[in-house]
Amino acid sequence: MLKNLCQKMFGRSLWVYHANSGGCNGCDIEVLNVLTPYYDVERFGIKLVGSPRHADVMLCQGPAMHSTARALKRAYDAMPAPKLVFAIGSCACGGGIWFDSYPVLGPVERVVPVNYYIPGCPPRPEAIIYGVAVAVGLVDKKTAPIQLKQLVLPIPRYHPNELCGSGEMVVYERAEKV
């Protein structure tokens, strides 16, 4: 649904505003790298603008800090209506390695609603392009939650049909799995 909305609303060029709310500058360098001739995102119509009032997309880097949260919120409010927020880097996605430190409020999600996440510290320029390509519908996302279990848990109580009574005792025959 989000993707359809994206394609409808942002069918043409995306103008991005780059907001650093307290990151270490690593992600900023990678975002600027994406705009260089090597990665050239201008071929997708993506252009960096200097004011949130001209932007469709806000690229957030760094966690929300107590000192910058209000400014971040104001920048978000200043963007015209169909707007997207990309959280770039581990800091913006989840608070980074400083998630529990005293000036940090947490992920930027705490302050502005985030639509797309690009984890990495910093993410490769390719990863950023990939995230943007997922958003504009050029490629499909590759990740899904993973659940892994050890195959058969050798706990007799969980396999009632493999237990058999013999006299006063109970025998469980799968002990070789232990």
């Binding site: 001739p37 990665y39 990939y130 590759k142 706990i155 799968r174 002990a175």
Partner: protein
């Protein structure tokens, strides 16, 4: 600006050729030592929680849902791909993959959840020391292991359905 300087600029640009990489259309290999997101191997992990204790981002959560199952949850929110967990894992259950294309619209897409079986003490039925001697009284009898035939023998019939033990300890699942 004079025409000659424009011409010079054109020449410089032509000399450089085209450098733009055809990235999303064409895959781009990563360097050999690149660290992407960690992948957990559930068959090797022993649940020692060394990774959880040493992760600088406190990204891995280890908790027990019942006495035999330990859950290891990697949430993928703020992992910095530093590789510390992979370095110190005694079982080498974590490998840092070359997978960097993790951009997504839902942050929970990077989650990994492992359910690990914890071997229990044959006497008391727990992974760790009993909190008190009274607890032990509630257990359902000792287990005699028939090693020659590779099977477990319980001295109580309470494992069979319909024959619950008096004061059975309930299994707490989630």
């Amino acid at each position: 600006m004079s025409v000659s300087s424009k011409l010079k600029e054109t020449l410089v640009c032509l000399k450089a050729g085209r450098v733009t990489l055809p990235y999303p259309a064409q895959a781009r290999p990563v360097p050999e030592k690149f660290r992407g997101r960690p992948i957990f191997d559930v068959t090797k992990c022993t649940g020692c929680a060394g990774c959880a204790n040493n992760c600088p981002a406190r990204e891995i959560l280890v908790f027990d849902i019942c006495q035999e199952i330990r859950v290891l949850e990697y949430s993928g929110l703020r992992c910095t791909y530093c590789g510390r967990c992979a370095d110190l894992c005694p079982e080498k259950a974590i490998t840092l993959s070359h997978d960097f294309e993790t951009g997504t619209d839902s942050i929970h897409d990077n989650q990994q959840r492992l359910e690990i079986f914890m071997s229990t003490c044959q006497r008391c039925g727990r992974c760790f020391e009993e909190p008190s001697a009274l607890e032990e009284l509630k257990m359902k009898g000792y287990r005699l292991d028939d090693l020659a035939n590779d099977r477990w023998v319980f001295r109580s019939r309470s494992y069979l359905e319909g024959e619950p033990a008096v004061e059975d300890i309930p299994i707490e699942m989630d």
